[in-house]
Subunit: 472 residues, 3 copies
């Protein structure tokens, strides 16, 4: 250890191989003492670096982390070869005056914009244009000041870096690695627009599944509204509009949930048949199928949320005023008219089976949801994950579909079901899941299964002698 | 970079820059073969280090990890420049005799105490006092033997290091980094007391929210007890004490849950108005507000737990003996007295709306809870997280408040509601949420919203020309 | 490695000590352009390495990541000293022809087999046998192509490495570390069988708990079936087989759930008494106890799943046709026979208490489940985790046991309960939890507690003067 202080070795290792040596020599410079500047500086100090803040008002800039120096921009820039620019884009003009002091230095642009498309060019590109003699690197902007202060964890551990100078990027990567972060190189500075848009994203991968959910919900809401409330009003003159709040919701939610669950498993089945038809797995799927497959998780989680609501709506049924009233009315009528109804074992079987299958289906559904949590799915091996999501997933779909068939029971054959010649909503909801299950059963037929497995392991029908590479 | 090829630099850097070289040269030494010693040694071996154990009874010390040597303390100390002291504090006296062998060496104190405040000084400080010639570094004590053996993950990945010698800390940091851990420097050895208290902490950030929850629950329990059970006994001579178990619980839990949910969002609203009033975001909030804001997550999760209990208590209502008895009694009375009640659509609307709004509110509430899981919130961008927690959070608060207003309905105006001139509990629970929602609506008024946004982006009313630094 | 100290060694050891230097000099080579080859190459490029693909058909091999070169195997092998072999085992024969080009090179075998025990020897061992002049290292096979492409997170961050050459392993470890992964050395190449079996594992630690759950469920199902359905048929000639779907399920699930929850806490109690009896904690537990303790988490989570189903089955009771029919029948009979039943406060107390205790028990149970999520338990200190899992766990067990006792109530004494002289299922389920709770109470007696604590801190009855090492 003591030998480390040897003069000749120190100066020779500015960034590579012995970053800790740097600590002794040259501080890092942080421009700006706002939230981001303070958090970044504090973290750098904790990691063992010396930090010099550059500020327009070195004396009146507010509190900086203990152990850091504050000085003017020009003085701070002189001290370090790496400068973190934690200043709003609007004040980048200030930097232009420092172009001589910043010449040849690595400038790390950590800035974000409050909104997308506020400026014609990315902040980092703008900074590079202002200071052509410096090496601008875009980095750290996807980390929040909060994450920097509290120590990064899990997903927050990734730092995306882009810039035109490989050496400058390497210098920044060294610092980030020392801070316990994982560095991902995203190429040249032209990628900085993408990096700056990243923290402004709002659930991009949820957009399509949400649109599908909203669209289906709206469609089935009006469908059921017409068949139930409006039909009742037109046909019998009865106003049952109060049923919108619970009864209709409890019809629409399970319908949409079942359809969306089956939409999760449909693309997998289509893909298998496509591979069978093509006889290879090396040709790309059409774009729409790729996009569809990428949003299966979101489709499934939305379906689970709707199933959860369906469970709650079902469980409160006996508490509803309407249900209690009807129940009392029924008993009173029975007593008054001296009727006796007989207990029907078949109805009991059907009613209990339908409830029991629904509960088991929902139980598995919740299990699928839990294994979708990042920390749980990360702890599973690939085989375990696919076992749960594929095998248990299809069993869930089967149980939920069976639940709906049992719910329907003899209503499929009763003419009174088809008001205004339309089938009830739950029948419509059975179409896609039934198709998926039938196709899945076809794929499980031994000879088909064998072909698919062979193709997925790299076998090709048309090029039997070719090299086959590893699947995973 | 290329200069690294210089011949003399290689051999001079035993730990820096080329830690793998060390493997060939010098083992690390572990004193003590207990759980911690064994786990640490095993992990060091897996990482590629050679390990020599020091033991008082080298021959009878029990199993050590395969590949490690066991020898006397003195022999082991001779071999290595870094010694991990995995011995109970009570036996530190043994170390004093080794002071000559340990002179100049780095001693890593990994010890923890079974309780806080057991000794007047931290273990590491005590060790340094016993061996003034060695460089004591406190480290690794926040990792459990279990985590070391099974490989660290996520939060367990952080190693806090403190010590008086920067070089000694650097040497320990190198080893920790090689083990896949993230190092955070906590300064000089005087910080070791804090590090030793860390693993003994028991939910410090939950204490205040729990106290609030318990206090509110106790208050409302007695309030409702007096208004329901005691009033009924005094006024009508009826003993309805059995209602404590379910009915009272199901009044107290939702009341406290709603108040605590609104307490989550109150500090944010207060902070916004404070910033508006001050015209800057650069002045610190008062301490009480800071503390309050830091425990919002815990407040919200406790409120969610109580809401979950409320849901369960509500759903079992129809199973209760009391409810079934009253229902039967009602029907029998109706039949006997030949009464007929008429179906009231307004009541049906109100009852269904109140249930439906409650279910939707609870659904969103669960969503907020899920996004609070560390692995989920880490996977969200800052904007996504704040969208969920702020926007959806306020919608949740609105739905839950509406649920309570709908529950109250015309009871607000009925004089019989105000037993002993006191309002029922649910009315009291509406005060804070209503205030929060009104203030939040005020903040959403365009001109106010614009001012707040401007201030949060760094604008200051009093210093219009000053430098503004990056928010995040 | 030892050559690293030599001046010319820098250019020869691109991977040791200064991995970033490599970027400038020597590419890494990837054989095979399948899923794994592409993903690995892309990640290496992102990390800053140059990548050369070796392919049998350099011109027709399909898309490779941008920035990578594609050439023949022989040419690619020439360029790099580290070669990632991303080819199916069946095509390893191709490699034999390249033995001269691959001589002295580090070959990283990343392959997995589709099934266990497909081949007599591990893929990596086979590769080493084919190419005795190369240094085969098994690594990266536990990462999926998916995880490599999307950046590793949490558990996916660990790379297991084994091989016969320490230098070759070091070279691979350097690359993995640069990629943000944590390296664990698993020893010589003979460990590769174990590493190759790893991704094919299917919930090995869940097998025993699942067998217990299925065994108990089957036993209690038939037990309850005989006592309920068959007894009713034999004794009264009534067919109540429809009760299988809900009533029987709702008896079996809570019974098995309670037993499994108590099986979670039984081994801890046994271990404490064993330590008390032996007077030391340094002797190993018998194997069956070790295995039992290792699957406590899985036992508990399965018990929670069954408790969850029990809750759902209970909550749908009032919706069941059978229950509604019986309820109406009861009222109608009462009216017709002009009976009046009196409200029984004791029954109300018991019914409400039993429900309320069950709800609180389930609430705590869910809390235990949430703290078992990897990301949550990682965020807890050791003391916090053991507080929740041990203290709250025993409270949960107590509440659930009390719930069952309250459910039984006076049925314990009623002779009609014991059909065919057998106790009902819920009584059987009370045996183990009652034993666990009694033993736990014994351990909480101050003098016993003190002894256990002392032993767990390292005190030994038989060797009072010996050295005691650190617990954790």
């Amino acid at each position: 250890m003591s030998k480390e202080a040897k003069p000749e070795s120190m100066s020779l290792h500015p960034l590579g191989g012995g970053a800790e040596v740097t600590t002794e020599q040259e501080p890092l410079c942080v421009f700006g003492t706002g939230d981001m500047g303070r958090s970044l500086g504090q973290r750098l100090l904790q990691t063992g670096y010396k930090v010099a803040y550059g500020s327009r008002r070195p004396l009146g800039c507010g509190p900086v982390p203990q152990g850091a120096q504050v000085m003017s921009y020009a003085d701070a820039a002189q001290l370090a070869s790496v400068v973190f620019v934690c200043i709003h884009r609007e004040h980048y003009g200030l930097m232009e005056k420092l172009s001589s002091q910043l010449k040849g230095k690595v400038l790390v642009d950590v800035s974000n914009n409050p909104e997308q498309n506020l400026y014609p060019e990315a902040n980092a590109v703008y900074l590079q244009r202002l200071l052509p003699g410096s090496h601008v690197v875009k980095a750290f902007n996807t980390l929040s000041a909060w994450a920097l202060q509290n120590g990064p964890s899990d997903a927050c551990r990734q730092v995306y870096v882009c810039g035109n100078s490989a050496e400058a990027k390497q210098a920044v990567a060294e610092v980030a690695t020392k801070m316990g972060l994982t560095v991902l190189d995203r190429g040249s500075l032209s990628a900085s627009q993408e990096l700056e848009d990243f923290p402004l994203q709002l659930f991009p991968e949820w957009r399509l599944p949400l649109q599908i959910a909203v669209g289906l919900t709206a469609f089935f809401f009006f469908y059921v509204l017409i068949r139930d409330v409006i039909y009742s009003y037109v046909d019998q003159g009865k106003d049952i509009s109060f049923r919108i709040m619970v009864s209709l919701a409890n019809k629409v939610f399970p319908i949409v949930s079942l359809i969306m669950l089956s939409l999760c498993y449909l693309p997998g089945v289509i893909a298998a048949f496509l591979q069978l038809y093509r006889g290879t797995k090396y040709r790309r799927f059409p774009d729409w199928l790729d996009r569809w497959m990428l949003c299966r998780k979101q489709l499934g989680l939305l379906a689970l949320a709707l199933a959860f609501l369906h469970v709650l709506y079902t469980l409160i049924i006996p508490i509803r005023y309407y249900v209690r009233f009807k129940s009392w009315e029924y008993v009173i009528t029975q007593v008054k008219e001296n009727q006796t109804s007989k207990f029907d074992t078949t109805v009991a079987w059907r009613s209990d089976s339908y409830l029991s299958v629904g509960i088991l289906g929902f139980g598995l559904y919740v299990l699928l949801g839990i294994t979708s949590l990042p920390s749980v799915s990360n702890a599973l091996s690939w085989r375990e994950f696919s076992y749960v999501q594929s095998k248990l997933g299809h069993v869930t779909l089967f149980l939920c579909t069976l639940h709906t068939y049992l719910y329907g029971w003899d209503r499929f054959l009763r003419p009174s079901t088809y008001k205004w010649y339309t089938p009830p909503g739950f029948m419509l909801s059975l179409v896609v899941p039934s198709v998926v299950l039938v196709l899945k059963v076809l794929l499980l037929v031994p000879c088909v299964d064998r072909s698919v497995t062979r193709i997925r392991r790299g076998w090709e029908r048309t090029q039997p002698d070719e090299e086959k590479t590893l699947l995973t």
